[in-house]
């Protein structure tokens, strides 16, 4: 605890230019609720997001572990995966639904998790805006592309 602080001790550099009449700049507390702070931030979105994380997490445990088991361990393991294997699986609507569900839940779960991380760690409003923009773009792109492939997959493509 004290080891990391011992190096911080030392004389103040250039400390002399503040006095009673000219104090150091006051750093505004971040939380300060001013007139500009939006008041209408209530709504059920955060609750829905929180619930979604729990519920999708439970479903994803089954989906992802099942997915990994089939892809990596059963019946020859990873070496069996090829175009033919994927084509064979997606011939069945069951696996189509499985993969579609996994795609949507995993992407939304991950995106919401990253949104939370950005909210918690990005300090400036602009940084938040750009990071979230990037995140949402990537999420929408991946979900749409994946959905398109699952629905329009053609095993006879040449």
């Amino acid at each position: 605890m004290s080891a990391d602080t011992s190096t911080a001790i030392g004389p103040v550099e250039g400390g002399a230019h503040y006095d009673v009449d000219n104090p150091a700049p006051y750093i505004e507390a971040p939380r300060k609720r001013t007139g500009k702070t939006p008041r209408a931030t209530r709504g059920n979105f955060e609750m829905a997001a929180w619930l979604f994380m729990r519920l999708s997490g439970v479903v994803l445990v089954v989906l992802v572990l099942g997915h990994l088991l089939i892809q990596l361990f059963l019946d020859g393991g990873v070496s069996k995966i090829g175009f033919a294997f994927v084509a064979g699986r997606w011939a069945s609507p069951f696996w189509q639904v499985w993969d579609l569900l996994m795609l949507w839940l995993a992407m939304l779960h991950g995106a919401n998790g990253l949104r939370t991380v950005i909210n918690d760690y990005a300090e400036r409003a602009n940084t938040r805006l750009w990071l979230k923009g990037l995140l949402y773009t990537a999420t929408v792109f991946t979900i749409l592309l994946g959905t398109l492939v699952i629905f329009t997959f053609d095993p006879n493509i040449r």
């Binding site: 605890m1 004290s2 602080t5 011992s6 911080a8 001790i9 030392g10 004389p11 103040v12 550099e13 250039g14 400390g15 503040y18 006095d19 009673v20 104090p23 150091a24 700049p25 006051y26 750093i27 505004e28 507390a29 971040p30 939380r31 300060k32 609720r33 931030t41 209530r42 709504g43 059920n44 979105f45 955060e46 609750m47 997001a49 929180w50 619930l51 909210n119 918690d120 760690y121 300090e123």
Partner: protein, 252 residues
């Protein structure tokens, strides 16, 4: 027969209980510099005394400019929450012997709030969040001519959260609060919990709606920093989870 006992007492009291302890205090004075510095103070102190007594010794005998808050000095008023050896505690409830006096004891202001001077922070954002949850009894109808009675079980329901002394040790230990300070913070939620689960109160729904804010209970990451920091031993994270559960079950 009594003589040897007396001798022993004299011998014991002759040996000084005092030890030398280094206090490493994070000093900040906006009239001198805009940077905070660590300053070491060596004092003779009985290890059975508290950190607050050490701070008093420094202020009274060594450096009168050391600035910190304390009112009752007995763990009731909640004025002297500070970060001691990296953990939020009340200086008046922390014994020197319990925090390894061999090493320098670091004392700094609680995090996440603007430091005004040395260990004094601007508590206004903290109290703003407290006021926002309406920490008072709200009822409808005529005032009864006698006390508002409540069963022992109903009282027990929110007993834990009545212990809060608003010292801000929990809120200023919360990593979500450290970031942008917009999160209501554990203390405000604890005090909302105290009224939400009070059978005599009728504004629980309103308070739940306030805490359903985007910076309300849903920002809690259950890191348990608040529960660890609370000098009153309130199970804060549990209280926050109970508010979350109430928010969900009231709708579905």
């Amino acid at each position: 027969m009594a003589t040897p006992v007396l001798d022993k007492v004299e011998k014991d009291s002759a040996a000084s209980p005092y030890i030398t302890v280094t206090f490493r205090i994070r000093r900040y004075n906006p009239e001198v510099s805009d940077a905070a510095v660590w300053e070491d103070f060596q004092i003779e102190i009985d290890p059975k005394e508290r950190v607050l007594d050490g701070l008093h010794k420094i202020k009274w005998d060594l450096d009168g400019t050391l600035t910190f808050r304390r009112s009752c000095a007995h763990g009731i008023c909640g004025s002297d929450a500070m970060r001691i050896n990296g953990k939020n505690r009340l200086a008046c409830k922390t014994l020197i012997k319990d925090i390894n006096p061999e090493k320098p004891i670091t004392v700094e202001a609680i995090k996440g709030l603007t430091v005004m001077k040395d260990l004094v922070v601007d508590m206004e954002p903290f109290f703003q969040a407290y006021r926002d949850v309406m920490p008072f009894l709200v009822t409808k109808g005529n005032e009864p001519t006698r006390e508002r009675l409540q069963s022992a079980e109903d009282r027990e329901r929110f007993d834990d959260t009545t212990k809060c002394i608003l010292c801000a040790a929990c809120t200023s230990s919360c990593p979500v609060f450290w970031n942008d300070g917009q999160y209501f913070g554990p203390a405000a939620i604890v005090n909302a919990h105290r009224f939400i689960f009070d059978s005599r109160d009728e504004a629980g729904e309103q308070r739940l709606e306030i805490l359903n804010d985007k910076d309300g209970v849903w920002r809690c990451r259950t890191t348990f920093n608040c529960t660890d920091a609370c000098p009153r031993g309130i199970e804060i994270t549990k209280a926050i989870q109970e508010v979350k559960r109430a928010l969900i079950t009231r709708r579905f």
